[in-house]
């Protein structure tokens, strides 16, 4: 067993200097990948941005008591797709109106506050879909206190489509970077396998099977790939955390820094690290095979 373990790190033992440089480079790239991955995970592509901008407005009938409207808002807030539901009474609605359209104060002088109270409903970024919005809208429309629901249903599908395309584009870009990175790793592994070919031949001559060398190297690559991905993603996550704290504006696009500590984020990092470990092992085996077939 000890022999197996010593072969896991055979590249480090035979070519420590160049491999250390490669590892530093890979770690830095994993930091970038980790930063991009966490940004993508938290933002959900363009979903967080859209969810931040989009709201459903439920205009209430006149003379609905505030307590009743508040209770209704709380009920709406309990729906699964809803992030928040806040009641604005007619007075607050009037103030908002004046902030948006200053100089229209005379409208009120004619016959009191012309604006009704309303409930502003915000959707969770991960539930911003046609179905999610329909669920909320139909729930609102079934309430007798609600006079009108403004959900932008005529342009919402186009907006959601645009958001979906933007998300796919972001994920595709990330995937392309990931694929390019591992293609580069494969070339590095191949180059290293070629440069160490004499040492592997030496070991094979002395009874160490070539297959065991290849598998042991792949196992070592998997372990180092996992550790590098985990460390790189943690470092990238740290940088993202600091950035979100320094620039709160980005929270609307990416999300709050606290989301980095959610269990699902940690699970995603573990899955990413495991995937990186598998890809590192595959790059090692492919590089080994490429080096051997190139030598024949």
């Amino acid at each position: 067993m000890s022999e197996h373990r010593s072969l896991w790190w055979i590249d480090w033992r035979l070519s420590g200097g160049p491999l250390a440089r490669e590892t530093i480079g890979r770690f830095l790239f994993f930091c970038l990948l980790g930063f991009a991955l966490l940004s993508l995970l938290l933002s959900g592509g363009a979903n967080r941005l859209l969810a931040d901008r989009y709201a459903i407005t439920a205009v209430l009938r006149a003379n609905i008591p505030s307590a009743e409207a508040d209770r209704l808002a709380r009920k709406i807030a309990a729906l699964p797709p809803v992030r928040s539901a806040a009641y604005r009474d007619p007075e607050a609605a009037w103030k908002e109106f004046l902030r948006a359209y200053p100089g229209l104060e005379p409208l009120r002088a004619a016959g009191g506050n012309p604006l009704p109270g309303y409930i502003e409903v915000r959707i969770r970024h991960d539930r911003l879909t046609g179905d999610g919005v329909s669920l909320v809208v139909s729930a609102l429309r079934s309430v007798s206190h609600v006079e009108q629901v403004l959900a932008g249903e005529e342009w919402l599908p186009r907006l959601l489509n645009a958001g979906r395309y933007a998300s796919w584009f972001c994920r595709g870009l990330f995937g392309a970077f990931l694929a390019g990175f591992f293609l580069f790793c494969r070339l590095q592994e191949r180059g290293r396998a070629v440069s160490l070919a004499g040492d592997f031949a030496f070991l094979a001559e002395r009874g160490v099977p070539a297959g065991r060398i290849a598998v042991s190297r792949a196992a070592g690559a998997a372990v180092s790939g996992f550790l590098l991905a985990a460390a790189g993603t943690a470092a990238g996550g740290g940088a993202l955390f600091l950035l979100l704290r320094k620039v709160p504006l980005l929270e609307g696009v990416i999300g709050p820094p606290a989301d980095l500590f959610l269990p699902r984020t940690a699970a995603a990092v573990v899955v990413f690290s495991c995937g990186s470990a598998l890809l590192s092992a595959a790059a090692s085996l492919l590089g080994w095979r490429g080096a051997r077939s190139g030598r024949k």
Partner: protein, 229 residues
């Protein structure tokens, strides 16, 4: 015990040699002397299990090396040490790198133990304090002695040396004479392939046996019957 029966090699469109029998006993040192291009390196690679002969068979401790199990062949190769006549493949390495690689081939040797044994072995072959030297910067004699010391790190049961005595040079012959005989006395088998056997060694070993183009000498081992040491 390494035995070779009716060995034959066909090379370059003709028969290089055929029907040769060898027997290399345990705890002994042998010199196989032959002129250039007679197939000494080839013979060693066949005896090591690296190259299947075109005819005949090699038997190690009663088991066929080429017709037996792969595991047996691997175990035998793992117990062998081999110093090549010349190599340019390892010029990028340092002497310490040679020892590190050799330790890998022999399983895990702790770093501290490896360094301590490295220093001892290098001093034994007349290269004390050279572990940081680059192979590319060493002379042929120094290289071959460094390679020999690195092989000895694993304590091989069978040691094959190809042209080591000639490459090491006359000043190192006495040291090698003592080293090979000491290894044999400790129970190892040493097989040396040389173009010529040094005169003093030939005087001690007697006439030797003629096998095809080869002349096979058994070196006298101190402490064994009939040898004064």
């Amino acid at each position: 015990m390494i035995e070779a029966f009716r060995l034959g090699v066909f090379s370059r469109g003709s028969t290089l040699w055929d029907g040769l029998d060898f027997a290399f006993g345990d705890s002994s040192a042998w010199v196989v002397a032959a002129p250039p291009s007679s197939g000494k390196t080839l013979l060693l690679s066949i005896l090591r299990g690296d190259r299947r002969p075109d005819a005949g068979n090699v038997v190690v401790s009663g088991e066929s090396l080429y017709r037996g199990s792969d595991a047996l062949a691997r175990a035998y190769r793992a117990s062998c040490g081999h110093v090549q006549e010349q190599t340019i493949a390892d010029l990028r390495l340092t002497v310490e790198g040679l020892f590190r690689r050799s330790a890998l081939a022999g399983g895990d040797v702790r770093d501290g133990e490896r360094k301590e044994r490295t220093d001892r072995l290098l001093a034994m072959v007349g290269l004390p304090g050279t572990s940081a030297w680059r192979i590319a910067e060493m002379s042929n004699s120094e290289r071959v002695r460094a390679f020999l010391a690195a092989e000895l790190l694993r304590g091989p049961k069978v040691l094959f040396c190809d042209g080591v005595v000639a490459a090491a040079g006359i000043p190192c012959r006495e040291m090698l004479w003592g080293l090979f005989r000491a290894l044999a006395r400790e129970g190892n088998t040493v097989v040396l392939a040389e173009r010529t056997i040094p005169e003093r060694w030939a005087l001690a070993a007697g006439d030797g046996a003629s096998v095809g183009p080869f002349r096979v000498y058994r070196l006298p081992i101190p402490g064994t019957k009939g040898d004064p040491g």
